[in-house]
């Protein structure tokens, strides 16, 4: 039994806004009452549900490639020295597995969603996820450029394609599906891209990015998945791409979807010289449509490494920077590009990106629709989230930061006119309750009785960044993992998997196609659920 008394509770899932209440925890869950055990006196402190990161890249082939490509960062970054409770590791732009868990938990986050896993590297990804201590995990499998699936869509075999999708979700041990640059990465294998939603994808007769988006969104609904389609739209990063993004949203035909890192998809202008923020167009759509959620993909100035399955965009970014470039071809499934990048305040494009991320977080009125993210590590590292919270909560500080940007940026952004400030309740929604609901994760993001006892307790402080960077206590599944700035315990987190209904003959159908063109044996391809330690499997019957 653990009791938390006297703290101001912020639990948006139950509508509790700063009331002083007592929380009772038993066997890793919240309970209604109880006696004995330890009591934490949280008087003068703020109690939040543990943070949930809806979109991050912390495990698998791509982030590992990024780690290997940036040895220079490892030398200047925070080192974790091995101790009784802790393994060694490094922080920085692409932290090592153990350090990822320590850094997330140290900031009060207790659940993370790895947003891009090719089936081919799912086994590797789960090995790494199981090495990330403390936090609970889920992952999304990459689907919008899978040749076997696209072939079925091209042939008009929707039912078959849906069955294949269900099989892939089970094979990859995923919680949902992620679509990256639909059709664009498949076209990249021929050096092409897909910028128009209604143009046929290279190598196919009928399939267009629009049909891929519409079909996948419908399949997520049909398969009754807990998380809707997680969508990285076409034309990421390109000036004027807001039209593509809005057209994509129309192609969803009212189906639910989560739009990933929408900051990168909210630009106006015609080229790099005229690029401006078009976040108001996108925010209007979100404000008037309830089938959508999004995460900001906010940008923070400084060094980072960009990693995405969007191979053609990464090649363009490499041409712009002239720095390092990594490109991976993941057989018939997807691709991957890695480019180290520095966001500079004096650079007009970067300054617009910085403003656009904050604008989306502020202009989308409902914090249940827009969540905190930097698309780690693309827009900045996850351990810098408290910097974003400070920008969201203090309009004055925001204005001060704006003054340090070049003057000519003012005509291109909306941020100077926005005076909204996030309340603690908004922060708790955008950082925990909202993402947990969007992910469909059971018992997360809430302090209600029966939910997982993931709690973060902050010492009330006028310095917002300091407050959110250094929680006084972090409790994961009822266990105190951080106390007074020290890691006390490093329990292993669970992994959430979903198993949708799948026709039994799907494997027989895929096997010959797979053996015809893949370089590995089919028997080694799907990840057996018993190979994933501490997996919590949710079976889903098909929608009626």
């Amino acid at each position: 039994m653990l009791r938390i008394t006297g703290g101001k509770i912020y639990d948006p899932a139950s509508g509790i806004n700063g009331e002083i209440r007592t929380l009772y925890i038993e066997d890793g869950r919240f309970v209604a009452s109880g006696e004995g055990g330890r009591t934490i006196d949280a008087a003068g402190m703020i109690v939040f549900p543990g943070g949930v990161d809806v979109h991050t890249h912390v495990a698998g082939g791509a982030i590992n490639f990024a780690r290997a490509m940036t040895p220079e960062d490892h030398r200047r970054t925070q080192a974790f020295i091995r101790s009784q409770t802790r393994r060694s590791g490094l922080g920085g732009m692409a932290p090592t597995t153990f350090a990822t868990g320590y850094l997330y938990a140290g900031m009060g986050f207790t659940t993370v969603n790895e947003a891009a896993v090719p089936v081919l590297s799912a086994r590797h990804t789960h090995e790494e996820l199981s090495d990330i201590p403390i936090v609970d995990k889920s992952s999304l499998v990459l689907m919008a450029n899978n040749e076997l699936l696209l072939d079925q869509l091209d042939a008009g075999e929707y039912e078959r394609a849906r069955s294949i999708l269900a099989w892939y979700i089970r094979a990859a041990g995923s919680w949902g599906i992620k679509a990256v640059n639909p059709g664009g990465v498949a076209a990249w294998k021929w050096g092409g891209n897909a910028g128009q939603l209604t143009e046929t994808v290279d190598g196919f007769r009928h399939v267009t990015p629009g049909t891929i988006v519409a079909s996948l969104a419908r399949m997520c609904h049909d398969l009754n998945l807990p998380h809707p389609l997680h969508l990285h739209c076409n034309n990421l990063g390109a000036p004027g791409n807001v039209s593509t993004t809005l057209e994509t949203l129309r192609h969803l035909e009212g189906h639910r979807a989560h739009i990933a890192h929408s900051q990168y998809h909210a630009y106006g202008g015609d080229d790099w010289d005229t690029m401006r923020s078009a976040t108001s167009d996108l925010a209007d759509w979100f404000n008037t449509h309830d089938n959508l959620t999004t995460d900001a993909g906010a940008v923070l100035f400084g060094d980072t490494v960009t990693i995405t399955a969007d191979g053609p965009w990464q090649h363009l970014l490499y041409r712009l920077t002239g720095r390092k470039w990594g490109n991976l071809d993941v057989e018939n499934e997807t691709g991957c590009g890695i480019v180290p990048y520095t966001y500079r305040p004096g650079h007009l494009v970067n300054a617009v990106q910085w403003a656009a991320g904050l604008e989306l977080l502020l202009l989308i009125e409902d914090p249940w629709k827009v969540f905190l993210s930097t698309d780690h590590p693309n827009g900045g590292c996850f351990w810098r989230y408290p910097e974003i919270l400070e920008l969201l909560m203090c309009a004055d500080y925001r204005q001060e930061c704006l003054r340090q940007l070049p003057d000519r940026i003012r005509s291109r952004i909306l941020l100077p006119e926005i005076d909204r400030e996030y309340s603690l309740y908004d922060v708790a929604t955008a950082m925990s309750a909202g993402p947990a609901q969007a992910l469909g994760l059971p018992r997360k993001g809430s302090l209600a009785v029966g939910c997982d006892a993931d709690v973060v307790i902050y010492e009330e402080d006028d310095n917002i960044r300091r407050m959110f960077s250094h929680p006084r206590y972090v409790i994961k599944s009822g266990e105190i993992v951080i106390e007074d700035g020290d890691i006390r315990e490093t329990p292993d987190g669970r992994e959430f998997l979903v198993q949708p209904h799948c026709d039994p003959d799907t494997e027989t159908f895929i096997r010959p196609l797979f053996e015809d063109c893949y370089t590995m044996s089919f028997d080694n391809y799907p990840v057996e659920p018993h190979r994933i330690p501490r997996a919590e499997i949710h079976h889903r019957p098909a929608s009626p």
Partner: protein, 279 residues
């Protein structure tokens, strides 16, 4: 003055980045003794490896066989570090100011990614002097490194600015991927000097075997070499530059990058024969 004497050579590398004058300057004797070093993966106190004399001074003398002691003077900003004996890898890496003098040899990565200050090695040094660490885009950004003896591979690797002077023979790939700065070779170098250089200057008093991607431009006595000579004179290094003494042959390259770098090779007036083997 703070005097440190190594009690016994470490069995495995000793990570000694705390032994930097700017860090020791404000510390009492007890505090210095209690600083931590890593001996391999084990954490040790400074006084387990060193006899410590003196306190609160930015003049530090270290004596002993320090070949396995790494990162001495790392990131130092001021003060003087004098080493009697041979220093291990990464001596003065990322230093921002001050002065390091070694009466002995030094290992690889001397002054790597330094931004200012002076390092002087009276003996020989290893490779990657003033270089960029693996993955980094830029090596040293300013400052001076003088090695009186020979030096190893990749001297000045991706250096951006600053001066490196090597008294003895230098091994292959001197000035690899240089982006700026000056390397002065008093006794020449082995092969592939200036490979992939983008910008920057390499001066050699001896003939060099140049890569085919360098082209001869002209004979010249540019003014800036006189400026270098005047800068190096108080450090005891004589760089000939007067037209009466001879002239410099200028080569451009590396054209496979393509680069705007230059290599100057000295031709004394008495020997008009080209001492250069192109190709």
């Amino acid at each position: 003055m703070i005097r440190l004497t190594l009690k016994r050579p470490p069995a495995v590398p000793l990570e000694a980045e705390v032994l930097s004058p700017s860090l020791l300057a404000g510390l009492s004797h007890t505090e210095i003794c209690g600083l931590h070093l890593y001996h391999g993966k084990r954490r040790m106190r400074v006084d387990e490896f060193f006899d410590v004399e003196g306190e609160r001074s930015s003049t530090v003398d270290i004596t002993g066989d320090l070949r396995r002691v790494r990162w001495l003077g790392r990131g130092m900003t001021d003060g003087t570090l004098t080493i009697h004996g041979s220093a291990g890898m990464h001596l003065g890496a990322r230093m921002k100011g001050g002065r390091i003098e070694v009466f002995g040899n030094a290992d690889d990565w001397v002054g790597a990614e330094m931004t200012n200050g002076l390092v002087r090695i009276h003996g020989h040094a290893g490779g990657q002097i003033g270089g960029a660490y693996r993955g980094s885009l830029r090596g040293m950004k300013n400052g001076t490194i003088i090695v009186e003896g020979t030096a190893g591979l990749e001297v000045g690797l991706r250096m951006r600015r600053g001066t490196i002077v090597i008294g003895g023979r230098v091994r292959d790939f001197c000035g690899l991927q240089m982006k700026g700065g000056t390397i002065i070779l008093l006794d020449g170098a082995e092969i592939r000097t200036g490979a992939w250089m983008n910008r920057g200057t390499i001066l050699s008093l001896r003939s060099l075997k140049l890569l085919p991607t360098f082209r001869f431009a002209c004979y010249d006595n540019p003014t800036f070499i006189g400026v270098h000579a005047r800068f190096l004179k108080p450090l005891g290094i004589r760089l000939p530059h007067a037209p009466t003494e001879g002239s410099w042959a200028r080569y451009c390259g590396d054209f496979c990058v393509p680069g705007k770098g230059e290599i100057f090779i000295w031709h004394p007036a008495a020997a008009p024969e080209p001492a250069v083997s192109e190709l």
